[in-house]
Assembly symmetry: C2
Homo-oligomer: 525 residues x 2
């Protein structure tokens, strides 16, 4: 005979199963779209676009409909009732609370996207998407012709539309905070602002000191012309060496390198320029960091948030940890330079120290974010962050953007763009309607330093292992403290559990002050 | 002011638009799945399977649900009412009947798949799919161990399930005719049987005569070892030469060559074996024929049956027309041998005549369908057709299959398999539950000959153009009479419009009798 409790448990399990089926469907549709986008960037023939656009649009609307359907809302409500009940029970009896907790995490994540997607009217989503599609060629032409005026009306429209969008999600909140949460749902904007302010306050004087330094770095260690095919072979060496799982991934070339996929199939792309061997190595290490995170997500979580990566900042922390803390370290070049020399004997005369210096050169006069070094990069981000925040809050007019942009470059970086093409028209993001995205790059760097410091606290310094080409212990730590959890914990909890503290710029600042202080012979203050 | 007629037209247009939206969605989901399958065969890493299987299963059930939803049925009924009404009107006023006719064709095609998919219970579809999944490894092991007994119970179950499936679709029809219609919906089974009987009656004596002939063909023209990379370069030459549109396609390798995609992106795969250069050339030409058909479908029809290829026999007619009527012709080798020699100088001493003979050798003792020549191939098909037809009709027991198979090989081809591995276990099709598929290969060959003869009737002999590497006129004729129509016409009407007569084996028999009569110095009868 079933007791009432047993019957209620059975029905709870059925509700969850129904809910999970729906979640898995949405996830599978999204992952199918991911393959279609990879295909489009990497292998699709030129004229495939019209059909591909329709396929992606269909998958996106099917996914939206599955998520925002009444049934999803009803299942969420039913499960949230259960969740609260089982939390109450958990205080007296703790059996199987693990499973309950994981289910609660899935419900939490789906609730969040459900609420956001149901609160914005479909017509507005379509208008934003159509405006952004048209904005892209307009922005491109404006940049080519160095004519901000051409792009200004479109940018104005996108700002207005995204403000309206934010209002639908939360009419009482700071609209910029709402947009930021699209990319970074669980780090609050105040935390992000605090981190960026600390970066600005500390990096501006540090960069000044670097620029005044008379140290001469070996910047031409990788000067020369390097064959594409050999560069590709070397990119494979990089991935081999770091421990990329080829049975669950592949390497291809794409005009804008990216990584994508699932734990079963996490692919990397890179690109090669004949005169930029170092760039292809660091870009490959960066994409390895992303793909390695994806490969470390738990298999059994596939199809639900438990098997998905946490959001943009955590993802970027993984790419930057490998790119900067490993790939731009002295021991890495002691390990990797001999491998590089096998492909490129012309590197025979380069020493590991010279390679290390070349990989960490700070540029004096660079105006372009994507070409920035590890220090100045964050000021490029701070500038964008401040401008887009003020635009969305209505504290800045679109027409003022070029002047404010140039002033900030002069103030923070000591360089002033002579054209808008190499000023406020350089990035694609705003033309996509992406306001709130940029800061996740810097948050990722900051978190990378924090995680790396915590990993060394736990396991001791990794320098010796890196010098030997041993990355398993570092990666094991990341698997254990970050990758395997998927979206099980919200970001602040994930960070706290992994590092014992909240998100902080301390470790990043300590890392750059020590590294660049030594490289550029700066005085300790 | 809108008249009643105008209002009714508006609502008719709206209904059609709603219907077409649904059809386009289904088509886009199917095409997305096509990309996922291509990816799986060509580029997916080894361990990607678990996630890919879930993605494909989700897309397939979404597509099934969209098609079989009540709304689809209601829209079909509403439009069929309109269609009948507009046909009545068309008799008095003919304005815009073209559009009406095309819409009627779309409704016809969707109705057909809707009726089939709604008449079979979901559980049965799932049982067939699960049984077939398990059947595949069982069949593979049985073949490896040459042990039909291992496979027999599974085959029996598949036969039973497919009989049940056929009964749901049409309880009063011959179940084999119902299954055949899954692959070839508009050619009736009697026509197919008549064609296959004529092939058997005429090819058995022709092959006898060939086997008794004392003619010595230059069978070793392509003997030797040929580098894979050079073979791939030559496959690209083949596609270039035939006029493949690279902006809408690509060439890759796959263990089992196939082509797939849409008019915007029709991809080809091939494979290379070091000792089989001729095989890779003919296989590439075959796949070109398929992809070239796809590339010729009308752009504006994308997303509806108007932009989709007619069914298996018509598709196969395109691959075989190019493979056999072009690629195995004397003038083709006069054109192509010099190109092949640039990649493979060792072909210097081979003459076009020798290449032609090697490409058309009839084998005496081949037991394997996929290795068969243009003549014996069809007897391999006839044997499978007769056996599966009798199995499905209940006129043959599964346990009798090996003996009947071997007897028929002896009777029709004069060879008797010594093992079931090279006998009735050689093909994958039945393990997939595919009964009714095989005959479309032969129907395709027959139709290829019929189309080629009609094209020559219209435009004159193509030999001179082929010798010059000019394929535009032939392809133009195929575009005009076959490709551009998509599924606009049912197959018999398409054939009648293109060739002026119904499907007939006449042209195929005339072609092989003339070609092989000359090659093997046979007496005219």
């Amino acid at each position: 005979m079933a007791t009432d409790q047993a019957r209620s448990d059975a029905s709870e399990a059925e509700t969850y199963e129904q809910f999970e089926d729906r979640v898995r469907r949405i996830s599978n549709v999204g992952n199918a779209a991911g393959i279609l986008r990879w295909d489009q960037e990497v292998v699709m023939p030129d004229e495939g676009t019209p059909a591909r656009a329709q396929q992606l649009s269909t998958l996106s609307s099917i996914s939206h409909e599955l998520l925002t359907a009444d049934e999803t809302g009803e299942l969420l409500e039913a499960l949230e009732g259960e969740t609260m009940q089982s939390s109450r029970e958990a205080s007296s009896e703790t059996a199987s609370t693990d499973l309950e907790d994981e289910q609660t995490a899935v419900v939490r994540e789906v609730r969040r996207t459900y609420d956001r997607e149901t609160s914005v009217p479909g017509e507005l989503v379509e208008e934003i998407s159509a405006t952004a599609s048209n904005a892209h060629p307009t922005w491109k032409q404006a940049r080519e012709e160095d004519d901000f005026e051409q792009f200004a009306p479109t940018l104005e429209k996108l700002v207005d539309l995204k403000r309206e969008y934010a209002k639908h999600i939360d009419p009482d909140a700071d609209p910029y905070a709402v947009l930021f949460a699209d990319y970074e749902p669980y780090i609050d904007l105040e935390t992000a602002e605090r981190v960026l302010e600390r970066l600005r306050e500390n990096l501006v004087p540090l960069i000044d000191a670097v620029q005044e330094s008379e140290a001469q770095l070996a910047t031409d260690a990788f000067a020369g012309q390097f064959d594409d095919d050999d560069q590709e072979a070397l990119a494979r060496d990089v991935l081999d060496s770091l421990g990329y799982d080829w049975d669950r991934g592949r390497l291809d070339t794409a005009p804008h390198p990216f990584s994508s996929g699932t734990q079963f199939d996490a692919r990397v792309t890179t690109r090669f320029e004949e005169d930029d061997l170092l760039g292809s190595i660091t870009s490959t290490i960066h994409e390895f960091g992303h793909a390695n995170y994806t490969q470390g997500l738990p298999d059994e979580g596939y199809g639900t948030p438990l098997g998905e990566a946490r959001d943009l900042s955590v993802h970027e922390s993984q790419s930057r940890l490998w790119e900067n803390h490993v790939g731009r370290s002295r021991p890495f070049w002691e390990h990797f330079l001999p491998i590089a020399r096998e492909r490129f004997p012309e590197l025979e005369d380069v020493s590991p120290e010279e390679a290390y210096e070349a990989a960490n050169q700070v540029h004096d006069d660079n105006l372009i974010r994507v070409e920035a070094d590890e220090l100045t990069y964050h000021l490029h981000i701070v500038i964008r962050f401040e401008i887009e925040r003020d635009l969305i809050r209505g504290d800045l007019e679109v027409s003022e953007v070029p002047a404010v942009w140039n002033d900030k470059y002069e103030e923070y970086l000591g360089v002033r763009p002579e054209t808008d093409a190499e000023g406020c028209l350089q990035d694609i993001h705003w033309s996509h309607g992406d306001f709130g995205y940029f800061s996740t790059y810097s948050l990722g760097s900051v978190l990378a330093a924090q995680l790396y410091a915590a990993a060394e606290d736990d396991r001791g310094e990794f320098d010796g292992q890196i010098r030997e080409g041993e990355f398993d212990e570092l990666n094991g730590w990341l698997r254990e403290h970050v990758h395997q959890h998927g979206k099980r914990y919200v970001t602040p909890e994930l960070i706290e559990r992994a590092t014992g503290e909240g998100l902080t710029a301390d470790h990043f600042l300590e890392y750059v002050e020590s590294k660049y202080g030594e490289l550029y012979d700066l005085e300790d203050d």
